[in-house]
């Protein structure tokens, strides 16, 4: 993941609430086994609506409440990112979606409705992650972000690598659990698969 510090440029506006991940990318386009190439399916069906006028290709998207609700598909942030978006400024964001965004270098920002509208109206904005500000039409709006997430995004750090630094703590936890009265179920102790058919393909 590339580090993020400043995101600057044109703003696309999608002024509605509850844009779910099925609208961001319909399920039938989730069949790729690669991480790339989802951008062309962004808003695939939603954009057929007569009043649809969201420009794709800008770095910033402004939208309403509960953006990204529904499925946990990371394909939604992948599609947004692949289409060129770098930040989503919303009135509120669905939990899993917001978390997924931070894994793909897409900055999720929540601002009060009037401020989101002001950014959309300005048409251009500059986001400074380190200062936690969105500047549009000469006004600067401050946003909140979890300090660890901010640190990770600013430095483009790999989450897994960071967690593996805690290897000793993980192993200690596992040993404690294994010795407890309830170590938890094991999928390997289920009867092995016998019925996976090996029928030759016609």
């Amino acid at each position: 993941m590339d580090p993020i510090s400043i995101i600057e440029g044109r703003v696309s506006d999608l002024p509605r609430d509850d844009v779910d991940t099925d609208q961001i990318i319909p399920a039938r386009f989730m069949k790729r086994v690669e991480r790339t190439g989802f951008g062309e399916f962004l808003f695939h069906d939603a954009k057929e609506a007569p009043d649809w006028n969201v420009e794709v290709g800008n770095p910033i998207l402004t939208t309403g409440a509960n953006f990204g609700s529904g499925s946990s598909r990371e394909h939604a942030p992948w599609a947004l990112e692949d289409a060129g978006f770098r930040a989503i400024i919303a009135v509120s964001l669905a939990d899993i979606f917001a978390s997924n965004c931070t894994k793909v270098g897409l900055l999720p920002i929540v601002l009060p409705e009037e401020q989101v509208r002001a950014v959309a109206a300005a048409g251009d904005a500059r986001i400074d992650l380190d200062a936690q500000t969105v500047t549009a039409a000469g006004e600067a709006y401050r946003f909140e972000i979890d300090p660890d997430t901010k640190h990770r995004l600013l430095n483009g750090l790999d989450d897994i690598g960071l967690t593996l630094n805690d290897e000793a703590a993980i192993t200690a936890y596992e040993e404690r659990r294994a010795a407890s009265t309830f170590p938890g179920p094991s999928s390997l102790s289920l009867p092995p698969e016998t019925s996976l058919s090996t029928t030759p393909v016609a």
């Binding site: 609430d17 309403g64 990371e74 179920p185 999928s187 289920l190």
Partner: protein
């Protein structure tokens, strides 16, 4: 200090600050390929294959295709084959097409006894909250997190806020778990629980079967909640006992002793709490394109003017337009062309039984295509042993193989544009069941009754007099 059920499970799984240990990671074909690829590129392995279980569900055809290699759609075939290859390479058990344990990931976990009280569980799927019905902390994650859990068996997670939804009163005749959760979402809105782990509690919950509890927890995400959970009790223990992965002998006794500690202490506080009076509920039917656009079957489709908030009014207008409905229409006057009985919300044996009780000896209305899709091969086998397949096929239902099927438009089972469907699944989003498809969410009983009548009907009066409807 008094603790909530959620606090107790959270604390037991903390490995380090904001790092929790995951007891079971369920995997399916759609959200995992990029995660396995990530492991491969980094030269990492799956840390605990014994705490990982995979199944193929979203993509699979439900027409009895016996092996992945025979799936006609090339991209679906590739995804399922990739899952099989990845699981073989990384040593993860997998129930794929052709296995008698294949099925929807959230049906398979409980049915194999892999879902047990007090656990932490994740899956690259937002309906993972289903498993919270057993008193575990279970939630959906994205693909990057899938990779993270595969590699480390841990998840970086700030502790979410807590919420309790209390269901008070006695569940009326003909009203089901599905109506309880649709009622709660209607009351709090689709973002009512965002950022919260929700505990469902109250006498109406305690009296529910495990299937009913799973239906409720399943739809937590439809109210925006991260996870839903219900304190385990004797109903839970009875359900788990004897399942393939359940502990036995002395280990069982020790486990139950431990599980009995899993409840919210008297005096523990939640960040948010709401009460839903189930006695006010009638069977629910959604009329719009989010699950909170819901009314009773005895009601009417609301008019946009009835919403004070201009944003809500605009949304209602768009939803009605998409759904091809007029404000003021009686719900019972809405006719349907398709019925979908299945999904991880209502695709278990008890759901199929409840639907079968409604249709036994009757025929699907002319012009309606109705399908039943068991949530897993095990559900299918059990239903066939009870002769339910006969009941459905005699009535003119299509009896299918296990999978997600028409819950999402990702496999051959899809709605055509403009087609209207009574569905037991969990999402009525635009295009969810196929581009342009119109979805009305209902309970299995209501879907079955609609199939027979050709339009929505109140299952409470549709039932032969006096026969109770199972919750």
């Amino acid at each position: 200090m008094p603790k909530t059920l959620f606090d107790k499970i959270w604390e037991r799984h903390l490995v380090a600050d904001d790092l929790i240990y995951i007891d079971l990671h369920m995997v399916h074909e759609v959200t995992s390929p990029q995660a396995f690829e990530g492991l491969r590129l980094a030269g990492r392995k799956v840390r605990r294959p014994d705490k990982t279980l995979a199944t193929a569900d979203h993509n699979v055809p439900t027409d009895g295709t016996p092996v992945a290699a025979r799936i006609k759609d090339a991209l679906s075939r590739k995804q399922v084959e990739t899952l099989e290859e990845n699981c073989a390479e990384f040593g993860v058990p997998v129930f794929s097409l052709g296995s008698d344990r294949q099925g929807i990931v959230h049906v398979v976990g409980p049915e194999q006894g892999m879902t047990q009280p007090g656990m932490t569980m994740v899956c690259g799927d937002s309906h993972t909250a289903t498993h919270g019905a057993f008193g575990s902390l279970a939630f959906g994650i994205g693909t990057s997190e899938v990779e993270h859990v595969l590699a480390t068996q841990c998840l970086v997670q700030r502790k979410p806020k807590s919420m309790r939804i209390n269901f008070v009163g006695e569940l009326p005749f003909g009203v089901t778990a599905k109506d309880m959760i649709l009622g709660a979402i209607g009351q709090m809105g689709v973002d009512g629980a965002v950022g919260h782990v929700v505990e469902f509690a109250g006498p109406a919950i305690e009296r529910l079967s495990m299937e009913g509890r799973m239906t409720i927890c399943n739809m937590t995400i439809e109210g925006g909640g991260r996870a839903g959970m219900i304190a385990p009790d004797q109903t839970t223990f009875d359900y788990v006992q004897g399942k393939p992965a359940a502990p036995t002998g002395a280990a069982w006794d020790a486990a139950v002793e431990e599980w009995k500690q899993l409840y919210t202490d008297e005096g523990a506080t939640f960040d948010r709490e709401i009460t839903v009076d189930v006695e006010q509920l009638t069977p629910r039917v959604t009329w719009g394109t989010t699950p909170d656009m819901v009314v009773g079957v005895d009601g009417t489709v609301p008019t946009p003017e009835s919403f004070d908030d201009p944003a809500e009014r605009g949304q209602a207008e768009r939803a009605l337009e998409y759904m091809g409905l007029q404000g003021g229409e009686r719900i019972e006057d809405i006719s349907i062309e398709r019925v979908f009985l299945g999904s991880c919300t209502n695709g278990r044996l008890a759901d199929l039984q409840a639907a079968a009780d409604v249709i036994r000896g009757r025929k699907v209305a002319d012009g309606v295509y109705a399908m039943v899709v068991p949530g897993s091969v095990q559900v299918k086998i059990a239903a066939e042993e009870l002769g339910l397949d006969k009941v459905f096929t005699d009535a003119g239902f299509d009896w299918r193989g296990a999978g997600c099927s028409m819950c999402l438009g990702m496999n051959p089972d899809v709605l055509q544009p403009g087609e209207r469907c009574a569905s037991t699944s969990n999402r009525n989003f635009q295009g969810r069941q196929g581009k342009g498809g119109r979805t009305h969410l209902v309970s299995p009983q209501m879907a079955a009754a609609a199939a027979i009548a050709g339009h929505f009907v109140d299952v409470r009066t549709f039932e032969p007099a006096g026969e109770p409807v199972a919750a």
